[in-house]
């Protein structure tokens, strides 16, 4: 039995098949569908979550690897200023990348790497947005970084 701690709640998980990814475990077993699957190959960033405060790609992580670690998903944010900033700056269109963008940006702020726009772009470059909302994503992250 594996125990996943997600957003502060412990979920016992019966991993009969140890190949279950963290992403599928979150979405299909814990009903936490806020984390998105854009590629399932580590190429788009839509599945970004935090593991012990560091950003990871849930599609490239086995659920079994997360035993005893603290996972934070978009559902675990409690009115984070980034969420509000993303809405006000219209930092998305379809919104499919947004959970991943926000989780990535949350970690970025924690990493103290949002000093300049160039920094924000560099450290957000693992998160694709096909709608092309990039300028507004930079604007939203910049605003929160300045007021942090």
């Amino acid at each position: 039995m594996t125990t996943l701690t997600v957003n502060g709640t412990e979920y016992p998980l019966d991993l009969a098949d140890p190949r279950v990814t963290l992403l599928d475990a979150l979405r299909d077993r814990l009903d936490l569908t806020g984390t998105k699957k854009g590629c399932d190959q580590g190429a788009c960033g839509a599945c970004t979550v935090l593991c012990d405060g560091r950003r990871i790609l849930a599609c490239l992580t086995l659920a079994a690897q997360c035993d005893g670690r603290e996972i934070t998903t978009i559902e675990g944010l409690e009115s984070h200023p980034l969420q509000d900033a993303f809405v006000r700056h219209d930092a998305f269109q379809c919104g499919y990348c947004t959970s991943g963008q926000i989780m990535s940006a949350v970690a970025l702020l924690g990493e103290n790497r949002a000093g300049t726009d160039a920094d924000i772009r560099e450290y957000m470059s693992g998160n694709l947005c096909r709608c092309g909302a990039y300028s507004n994503i930079v604007a939203a992250v910049r605003e929160v970084a300045r007021h942090a």
């Binding site: 806020g34 854009g38 559902e75 993303f86 379809c94 709608c131 092309g132 909302a133």
Partner: protein, 741 residues
């Protein structure tokens, strides 16, 4: 007709304001339900067996081994399609499941429903298909013209040939020619195809689906299921981007078939690789152009041959060909035109709608030609375009008069006057190659380029293009409240705000709720061709005005609105809205008023190119676009940014690579789309010269920037390298190897 300017509410609502997305909070908290998030207890998962071959006879299909897998509930082939076996947007030529042969790699052959997605996928792999592989027809330029090539389609290998013929003078003092190619681009929406079909007690099916046009889906699904339309009910589920790729059906019929057969809800979610096979792409194009001008650079004639590869099935290729032909000379005054645009069938991946729809490919070619002409005439890229620019009153190549503002020359001058960015710092992140440290500035050259695009807005060529809106005012918690119901698909473009703002403006009531889109209200048409603000916006406005008229009559006796609603009950009206009629293009001359609205966008690109390695950094993109009337500034800017980014992708990186009919790169590791590092900051100038025929004077805005950004970037790279670069996307090799040579 006068132009309503729209009353802006004091609360900062209504049109012209940056109303924030009503679904925004759900999207930033992860609660917004995309089609892939839907879940019903006891549901099954669908999987599709697809052809590994681009062209083959199917000699036999044995589903036995798949049926034996524990957890499998059904395995279906074409024999199980309950009704018509074929569907399609323009021609019903695409089999629901392959019958006796496959015509492209990835064509669906059989379906499985199982209690777990992995089980379904593994069972699909166990289906035994015996193929007799044929030689694939893969060269579109041969397919349509060489009669010894076997026909791919029942229609032969030519989808449509559309000539355009104007005038008879095809000699000039200055002549430039060029051959251009555009690779096959993918829409690459981030949320792959998905949907949930639920069998209903009346024998019908309820389908929750991410699509662009619910009613055209319904029209195609019902006959294949052998059900009346009212038993195939569709509700829009959350859409993770569209860009044209959801205009054709993907798994809609498949999921419904499995749900009806098993009596259980069936969910499909394509993976990224499957998504590359699950939808149509942008037509790759081969184009030969000849431009003739006098010594002052004034165009005398344009000749063009445009070949668009539609792949195995028709999809929307005929309309794409129509656009390439009618807009094939661009927004320039050209007295003599000789265009032949062809769409072909091949065994390559099917192509259909993508943002820009046929206008993108031609735009890349004619703009490349304008740069060559500028050079030949000794003029600047801006000057050559200004001298030939259309304006209100000009004729298109189709003979259609541009009868609304089209201030292209002014737009170009404004673009030219925008300040240029300074030289890049030596911060690695600002250099081509970035932190890979491929250069510290050596070998880097700067280039500047311009691009101009013209796009038809709404459906053209005589299509009965309309939308329907139901608007209801009622009391909710003692306050007047508006419900707006349409079947229009919100795909991220912000239509949900536009509908809200229009209702607020026309009714003077702030509290507006957008009812989920479904097929219980009339068709809204497609969320494509930049048409929803225009057409669905027009319908919401018309229905709102009809409600307002009744409310005004009811309150004329001095009662308050609240009182009236309490005493008389809700007031509801449904209206259809159509844009000005359009006409088919003459099949021999291409003449005709085929478009209802035309939109212009101009781009300037500044790039730094490491000419030794062929790596490119786009430093800045500037654009001027005329949208007639700004409905929501924030969302509009987002559309221009997004359209520009997709044009950048086509210019520099995006191509589905196809060899012998097979896709080589169906993943995001091999099919690259622009990241936040690739997309530079933009300078925008947005003009409001109203189109008096459109609601509020608006002009569709989502597509034009996708046209003009590609040639602007390509021109900038040419300017930096001095290379002809006649194909997009431009690959590093195209530069590095050419420089070496």
């Amino acid at each position: 007709m006068s132009i309503a300017t729209g009353r802006t509410q004091e609360t900062g609502q209504g049109i012209g304001q940056s109303l924030l997305r009503p679904d925004g909070t759900l999207k930033v908290t992860g609660e917004f339900a995309y089609s892939s998030d839907l879940w019903l207890d006891g549901m099954l998962w669908g999987a599709t067996l697809r052809s590994p071959h681009p062209s083959a006879w199917i000699r036999s299909i044995d589903v036995g081994p798949a049926l034996k897998v524990p957890g499998v509930f059904a395995v279906l082939t074409h024999e199980d399609v309950p009704g018509e076996k074929f569907y399609g947007l323009e021609h019903k030529d695409q089999p629901v499941l392959a019958i006796d042969q496959v015509r492209y790699q990835g064509e669906p052959i059989a379906l499985v429903a199982a209690d777990h997605p992995e089980t379904a996928r593994r069972a699909a792999d166990l289906i035994e298909v015996v193929y007799e592989v044929r030689e694939a027809v893969t060269d579109p330029r041969k397919a349509a013209f060489d009669l010894t090539i076997p026909p791919v389609s029942v229609h032969g290998n030519l989808v449509r040939h559309q000539p355009v013929r104007v005038g008879g003078t095809f000699t000039a003092d200055v002549v430039v020619t060029g051959e251009y190619e555009v690779g096959m681009q993918d829409q690459a929406f981030l949320g792959p195809e998905s949907g949930l079909a639920v069998p209903a007690e009346d024998g019908g099916v309820d389908l929750y689906i991410a699509t662009q046009w619910l009613h055209v889906d319904q029209d195609q699904i019902a006959p294949c299921l052998n059900l009346p339309k009212d038993k195939v009910r569709l509700t829009l589920a959350g859409v993770g981007g569209a860009f044209g790729a959801r205009e054709d059906l993907s798994m809609q019929i498949h999921a419904s078939m499995l749900a009806l057969r098993t009596g259980k809800p069936v969910k499909f979610v394509y993976g990224r690789e499957e998504s590359f096979f699950g939808h149509v792409h942008r037509h790759p194009a081969w184009m030969r152009y000849e431009h003739g001008a006098d010594r002052d650079g004034k165009l005398v004639y344009v000749k063009a041959e445009i070949v668009l590869d539609g792949g195995a099935y028709t999809s929307s290729s005929p309309a794409v060909v129509g656009n390439a032909a009618s807009l094939g000379v661009g927004p320039y005054e050209v007295p003599n035109v000789f265009i032949d645009a062809y769409g072909t069938y091949t065994n390559n991946p099917p192509c259909g709608a993508m943002r820009g729809f046929g206008a993108v490919q031609a735009c890349y070619a004619y703009e490349s030609q304008m740069d060559r002409l500028a050079e030949a005439c000794g003029l600047s890229p801006v000057e050559i375009r200004v001298r030939n620019a259309v304006s209100q009153g000009s004729l298109l190549a189709t003979g259609q008069v541009i009868d609304t503002p089209a201030p292209l020359a002014d737009m170009l001058r404004e673009l030219d006057a925008m300040p240029l960015p300074g030289p890049s710092s030596l911060d690695l992140r600002e250099l081509p190659g970035g932190v890979a440290q491929t250069t510290h500035g050596e070998g880097v050259r700067r280039g500047i380029g311009y691009g101009v695009g013209i796009k038809n807005i709404c459906f053209s060529e005589g299509f009965d293009d309309y939308s329907t809106a139901r608007v209801r005012v009622e009391l909710l918690g003692d306050e007047p409240h508006v419900l707006v119901h349409t079947a229009a698909a919100e795909v991220g473009q912000g239509l949900i705000m536009v509908k809200t703002q229009i209702a607020q403006t026309e009714l003077g009531i702030d509290r507006v709720t957008i009812v989920p889109a479904d097929t219980t209200v009339g068709s809204a048409g497609s969320s494509s061709a930049s048409r929803q603000s225009y057409v669905t916006g027009g319908a919401v406005r018309a229905a709102s005005l009809a409600v307002k008229e009744r409310l005004d009559a009811l309150t004329a006796d001095g009662r308050s609105l609240t009182q009236v609603l309490a005493e008389e009950g809700p007031v509801e009206e449904t209206r259809e809205y159509r844009h000005r009629r359009t006409f088919p293009m003459d099949p021999l001359t291409g003449q005709g008023d085929s478009h209802t609205q035309l939109a212009l966008c101009v781009h300037r690109a500044v790039v730094d190119v490491d000419v030794e390695l062929g790596l490119i950094k786009v430093v800045e993109l500037a654009a001027v676009q005329d949208v007639g009337k700004i409905l929501n500034p924030l969302a509009l800017e987002g559309q221009i940014h997004g359209g520009t980014a997709q044009g950048l992708g086509l210019a520099l990186m995006e191509e589905i690579q196809v060899r012998d009919g097979k896709v080589l790169n169906p993943s995001f590791t091999d099919y690259l789309i622009p990241t936040i590092l690739d997309m530079p900051p933009m300078k925008l100038s947005i003009l409001e010269n109203p189109d008096p025929h459109a609601p509020y004077g608006l002009r569709g805005a989502g597509e034009p920037p996708t046209l003009s950004s590609t040639p602007a970037i390509a021109a900038a790279v040419r300017a930096a390298t001095g290379l002809p670069l006649s194909r997009v996307p431009i690959r590093p090799d195209d530069i590095a190897l050419a420089v070496l040579a």
